[in-house]
């Protein structure tokens, strides 16, 4: 047992190395970074962070990111819930084809959709708003949410539904009062995945925004190219983007293993 | 094949146990004869599975010894102990055929191929698995899978003991009976020590020659099904075995005789009361109580409160002051309503102190 735990320890060390480098870099001055190799900050500075928190174009990037991620998560899970219920409980014309077609959208390369999305969302006047990004991300998040929720719902015996109808519940009341609480864990997992994929996706997010709704992570690469080689600032911005992910993982830490199996083990 | 001796065994799941409550299994000594059919019977959480896992080697005891014949096996692995075990949920190797499943324990031990083949076919025959030998084990029903688990234990000709941990839990009711008789038959055929863990008294009493009744981490009685029924060593055994369970009536001892509500109640043997004090009870099974006329011997006045039909007999509930007494009346016999007299069969009336049999 002792010997085996070497494997995860080494792996975690490997995972932490680039993160360590990014974080230490964010506390270094530009001179120190470019001046040569230092394993940790020689002249510790918070200037990079100060710059970010004093510049609205920076910190508003955060707000924009959170905004579209939140809209997308709520939207995806809300519309996926009734659909997943239909797939898990009923057979209907074209159900299997529909399910597969939905999944194919999870397989659509963002690069294929970037240009048409740009034209589509410009045409409907949503370009450079959080809504454009949120809606475009539903392309892959709705199918994913349907898939995850269907897995969890199929694990709930049908007798639950039947008992509720016998007890005189209407469908909407049953769905909200009884069914949703029963699959709360599944909803949590679906939200987690929607958050995750909306938060990490950058190609569409970057393409569909210009100034107002530019996500924080996209601002970062822009800075790298426009304001010269400010690696410290870039590292600080990068470090800040690690935080929301870390917070979310911390909250779901006890469900993480089950969640990743998408309710299908 | 081995005689199993359990000597002053104790087990705790916590490290460094201090209090008696830390022990999931309280100190016990037990001897299981070679070739016997035993059942470990008790409610959930009584420690019977712990005891089973200690014997099989899946757990190692905190204190005490386990001897197979004269060898102390306490620290040996299940493989070294040479035992077989059938679990609650059928365990089969899904990707293998039924044949390969049965051959697996032999292959792992390097048995020659020819011998494996003849053993597997012999056991498959006994378990009626012959026609499915070349099918994938994953496709079988629950009872088929459970037979495979059982078969993997039986193929090895050298096992010291075969253990069953509530093996019929997931089997359909109508097949339970079939599988249970199969087990009994197999025990007669191969004549090997078998230990059967269950919380179901019917399973235990029909399978075992001797039943070990456990409660709260200790052994309360070891005996044949008849002994457990006729002379429960503890009121727990009286309650747990039999349906309805034994009546336990608070009493006192006056002039060396148990006395209930002022009536002396005769019992067959001597009373062994080492000292005074303790909670005294009379224990008598509903089967050994009769309604009686006023004419003969000592009787107890009761009020009949409830009669329920249970097929071949009726369960009659009566009340003597605040004490409930239940008795069985055979179908067709009259049941008085209202006031009545009860008579206890003296041969089957026992006295208990703090739950334990004292006379």
């Amino acid at each position: 047992m002792r010997k085996r735990s070497i494997v995860p320890i080494v792996y975690i060390l490997f995972l932490m190395l680039p993160i360590y480098w990014l974080v230490t870099m964010s506390f270094k001055t530009t001179n120190e970074i470019l001046g040569g190799f230092t394993p940790w900050p020689q002249s510790f500075t918070l200037d990079n962070y100060r710059k970010i928190f004093n510049d609205p174009t920076w910190y508003m990037g955060y707000v924009a990111s959170i905004e579209y991620v939140a809209i997308n998560t709520v939207l995806s899970v809300a519309v996926a819930l009734p659909a997943a219920y239909a797939f898990s409980r009923y057979r209907f014309l074209g159900d299997k084809h529909m399910f597969f077609w939905l999944l194919t959208n999870r397989m659509a390369p963002a690069a294929v959709f970037a240009l048409p999305f740009y034209q589509l969302y410009s045409a409907v006047g949503l370009f450079d708003t959080p809504w454009a990004v949120a809606l475009s991300h539903t392309l892959f998040n709705i199918p994913l949410a349907v898939w995850i929720l269907e897995g969890f719902m199929s694990g709930v015996p049908k007798e639950l539904d039947e008992t509720a109808y016998v007890d005189g519940y209407s469908f909407p009341r049953f769905f909200i009062k009884i069914f949703i609480p029963t699959i709360a864990a599944g909803i949590g997992v679906a939200c987690f995945f929607c958050f995750m994929f909306s938060w990490v996706e950058m190609l569409l997010a970057k393409t569909l925004t210009a100034v107002a709704a530019k996500p924080i992570a996209a601002l970062m690469t822009k800075t790298a190219s426009t304001s010269g080689y400010e690696l410290g600032l870039l590292a600080a911005a990068g470090t800040l983007t690690l935080i929301p992910g870390a917070v979310v993982i911390y909250f779901v830490r006890n469900y993480i293993a089950k969640g990743f199996a998408l309710g299908r083990v | 094949m081995a005689r199993i001796l359990i000597d002053k065994l104790r087990h705790a799941y916590v490290q460094n146990p201090q209090k008696p409550e830390d022990y999931a299994l309280k100190e016990m000594s037990l001897e299981l004869a070679d070739g016997g059919a035993y059942a470990l019977l008790g409610p959930s959480g009584c420690g019977k599975t712990t005891l089973l896992n200690l014997i099989s080697g899946l757990l190692h005891p905190t204190e005490g010894r386990i001897l197979f014949d004269d060898t102390d096996v306490g620290q040996l692995t299940p493989e070294q102990r040479n035992i077989a075990q059938v679990f609650q949920f059928p365990v089969v190797y899904d990707t293998m055929t039924v044949y390969d499943n049965l051959a697996f324990p032999l292959k792992n031990r390097g048995v020659p191929a020819g011998e494996i083949d003849s053993r597997v076919r012999e056991i498959a025959g006994m378990l009626d698995l012959g026609p499915t030998l070349n099918k994938r084990a994953a496709g079988l029903t629950a009872d088929g899978k459970q037979k495979i688990s059982l078969g993997r234990g039986l193929v090895r000709s050298d096992v010291n003991v075969i253990m069953f941990d509530e093996p019929l839990t997931v089997i359909d009711p109508h097949l339970k009976w079939v599988l249970r008789s199969k087990l009994k038959e197999l025990h007669h055929r191969i004549n090997r020590t078998m230990i059967y863990v269950t919380h179901d008294q019917t399973e235990a009493l029909t399978f075992a020659d001797r039943v070990v009744v456990m409660n709260l981490g200790e052994v309360v009685q070891v005996g044949t099904p008849v002994e457990l029924f006729e002379r429960p060593a503890h009121t727990f055994v009286g309650h747990f075995i039999g349906s309805p369970g034994m009546n336990a009536l608070p009493c006192t001892v006056e002039n060396g005789r148990p006395t209930f509500l002022g009536h002396a109640v005769p019992i067959p043997g001597e009373i062994r009361l080492p000292n005074d004090g303790g909670r005294l009870e009379i224990g008598i099974r509903p089967e050994f109580i009769k309604f009686s006329g006023l004419e003969s011997g000592p009787t107890i006045a009761v009020e009949v409160t409830k009669v329920s039909d249970a097929g071949r007999f009726r369960i009659v509930e009566t009340r003597a002051q605040e004490h409930r007494i239940r008795l069985l009346v055979p179908e067709g016999d009259p049941v008085p309503s209202g006031a009545a007299q009860l008579r206890f069969d003296p041969k089957h009336t026992h006295l208990y102190r703090d739950g334990w049999l004292v006379g």
Binding site: I12, R91, A111, A261, V265 | S56
Partner: protein, 287 residues
Amino acid sequence: MNKTVNQKAWFLVLPVFLFVAFNAIIPLMTVVNYSVQETFGNNIFSWSGVQWFQDTLQSDRFHASLGRQLMFTAIILAIEIPLGLAIALAMPRKGPWVSVCLVLMALPLLIPWNVVGSMWNVFALPEIGLMGRGLNALGFDFNYTRQPGDAWFTIVLMDVWHWTSLVVLLCYAGLVAIPNDYYQAAKIDGASAWAVFRFIQLPKLKRVLTIAILLRFMDSFMIYTEVQVLTGGGPGSSTTFLSIDLFKVALGQFDLGPAGAMSIIYFLIILAMSWVFYTLMMRNEAK
């Protein structure tokens, strides 16, 4: 589970259908439109039939990108699936360390993809990055901005860093779902550690492994942002995978016709391969 036939269930699926149709069908039609037309700018289009498809399918450039893409996907699958499985097997099953392990391992999965690229960009820089500097100090002549081999090495390592945890988490979830009885029975049957893996763990993990392979296949086939930020497809075009090439054609050169044709071929390749996985998975489930 026996499902009842109920055509009204369509009403429950309708919102999903509308959203996805809006997002999938309209843009896809645009792409199809481009792929069969010739444009000279100013919104003037003329019919070009299957010209662009023929050109794309015959172009060396497309073959080269597709080759690189297949190679990349094959390499990372060959590394990440066994590695993830091995790590999951070595993880503790209970105790306080489980949560710590899982949280730390999941971290790379929640980092925006261009941050992943930037992070590895600075990490691997030969003069000032920990990895680049370290490799050079060990005597390797490492420079991913100039040597294609080094660029590939860095990208593969980055992808392993980024995604192996997904495989670990899936496998781990599958492992903890195996009842303890199986391990105990194996012990009693005298099974070796290898036999336990081969006959208990691997068969029980088949389902999660299929999901892992499917997800890793799809996502690695679509990789864009991380590589774009790290190497920009270079040096030369040595790390130009399909998505990067597509972007170069569509936005760099504004060749909408070829880009449209390429998009459709690209999408169809992923669809076809995913369909194979999907049917295999469903067939297993039916058994």
